[in-house]
């Protein structure tokens, strides 16, 4: 059992979730209510990680983060170390790969709030911030929660992109999914089996938690 790899996976999933929570709410809310030019293109780009093979996505991210691009050079100049094959590079890739999982459920959740309910809140004299906090967020919360859970579970299970962008550096970029592959390659089926079972259990718990939120009172409307 590669415990550091498991903790690295959990750390990566938690950070990805933390970054995508505000991004998902902002983007989902905006896409739900404001129509703008090129919206289909933006929505298409956001959904792209769902359909592209992880190796293709990983290849592009590896190229984009590398020292040959302005992004890679800028990061190296500011932080002092390269972006590829580091935890930060892995995190950035993970955030991009998980965008559809974070944005789409959130967008659907905001879309489901009737426009009249938001208008009624304005007619009550509530400020935009209060409407967001007291009305929109509680009503959209089950969707936001399921976005977070999906992001978390998907990050734990991501393999192709992680391998392409992060490589397999113990303690830096070796996630539990990579470690399982590594153990199988080394014919250490017992360790692989244990880690696979752990990953299965964690994923199952998070997904089950996601489904149970569908029953919360905010979801039921009279």
């Amino acid at each position: 059992m590669d415990v550091p790899a498991l903790f690295l996976s959990l750390r990566l999933a938690a950070w990805t979730m933390a970054i995508l929570l505000p991004v998902g709410i902002w983007a989902g809310r905006r896409l739900a209510w404001r129509r703008f030019r090129g919206q289909s293109l933006v929505e298409g780009l956001l959904a792209l990680p769902l359909v592209l093979p992880p190796t293709v996505l990983g290849h592009y991210l590896l190229t984009a983060f590398g020292g040959a691009t302005p992004l890679g050079r800028l990061y190296e100049a500011v932080i002092g170390r390269p972006l590829v094959f580091t935890f930060e590079g892995l995190l950035l890739a993970s955030v991009i790969v998980n965008l559809p999982f974070a944005v789409q459920p959130t967008q659907r959740a905001f879309e489901a709030i009737p426009s009249e309910v938001r208008e009624a809140a304005r007619c009550c004299g509530m400020s935009d911030w209060r409407i967001f906090r007291r009305i929109e967020l509680p009503l959209a919360w089950p969707g936001i929660l399921s976005a977070l859970v999906l992001t978390f579970a998907h990050t734990l299970g991501e393999f192709g992109v992680v391998l392409m962008v992060g490589g397999n550096i113990p303690g830096e970029t070796r996630t539990v999914a990579i470690a399982i592959y590594d153990r199988v390659q080394a014919f250490d089926t017992q360790a692989a089996g244990l880690m696979a079972a752990t990953l299965l259990l964690v994923s199952l718990i998070t997904i089950a938690a996601s489904y149970s939120t569908a029953d919360s009172p905010g979801r039921r409307r009279g």
Binding site: A120, A121, S127, P217, G222
Partner: protein, 377 residues
Amino acid sequence: MAEEGLVLRVRQPAPIPLDAEFACAPGQVLALVGPSGSGKSSLLRCIAGLLTPAEGRIGCAGETWLDTARGLDVPTPRRRIGFVFQSYALFPHLTALENVMEGLGDVPPGGRRSRAQALLALVHLAGLEDRTPHRLSGGQQQRVAVARALARNPHVLLLDEPFSAVDRSTREKLYGELADLRRQLRMPVILVTHDLDEAAMLADRMCILSHGRTLQSGPPLEVLQRPASVAVARLVGLKNIFAGTVVSHDPGAGTTLLGWKGRLLPIALQEAYPAGNLVAFSVPADGVLLLPPDAGSRGPRDTLLEGTVLSLTTLGDRVRITLCVEGGEPANLFTTLSRHVTARYTLAEGRSITFRLRGERVWLMPQAGGDREPDGG
């Protein structure tokens, strides 16, 4: 200029054509009536600031909320309005009490709960404070929406078809409650409805709308009985609309003589239309009396006419009757009778009858545009 009540004038060619003007005094109920798509809800949204018309001015209680000429458009949360939506638009995750408390942003936090409880008691919901909307009936949800709308001490109360989503018996109960409630209200109340009876029952004034235009405003009875135009007459459901000619006026007798397809009808004096003018006129259903000729006393402006029953349509306890009027060019007249009276007179399709046209109830209007005859058929 300071206004006591609400004054509105808005105009825009598209996307929703609007050309409306009305005022509503404090304590008064103004009904905006028109078919769906006539722009009545859009006008309510203009008052609330949820829709900004291309041009116009809206003032209420001495404040100007919209003045496109000066580029002024006060945002919705800063307009003191109470809005009851057609779907009530309650906050589904909050209890009845919390729904009302959200409208009490101006009250110090310590006083909100007791104020919200008082408002719920006012709409007869004491004891149901902790229920969320999905555990309340339609009528109860409507009452929460009313309490929430009143929470801000609004300068105007806006009701968008508030009775359309409840069953009939609940609706009748709510009519009574609104009638009671309005005696305690000091602000103008704008009621949007497509139901003429509802408007006549609840409103002090009524404003008929069509394609975003205000066609006529006035007390409900006046609008219903004295439509200003053929368009209004049609919208208020008058079926008997015909073209005629003013023959003469007799101010002494209080009578105007109206020529109608070779017949002469004495009607109530209406000197606004000079003799010789082509006019349109309406006859309400109660202007046609199917009494036997010898029954009751005949009024000075009643005309006896001969006709044939063309059709009888039973609608519940009423029967809708179409008559073909003879003695001149034929014309179709519509009236209704209760079912047992129809049976007593043994009315049947094809039967010839004599009936009375009550000139007292005939109302003249400007001729409808063009050569098209304003026949109500």
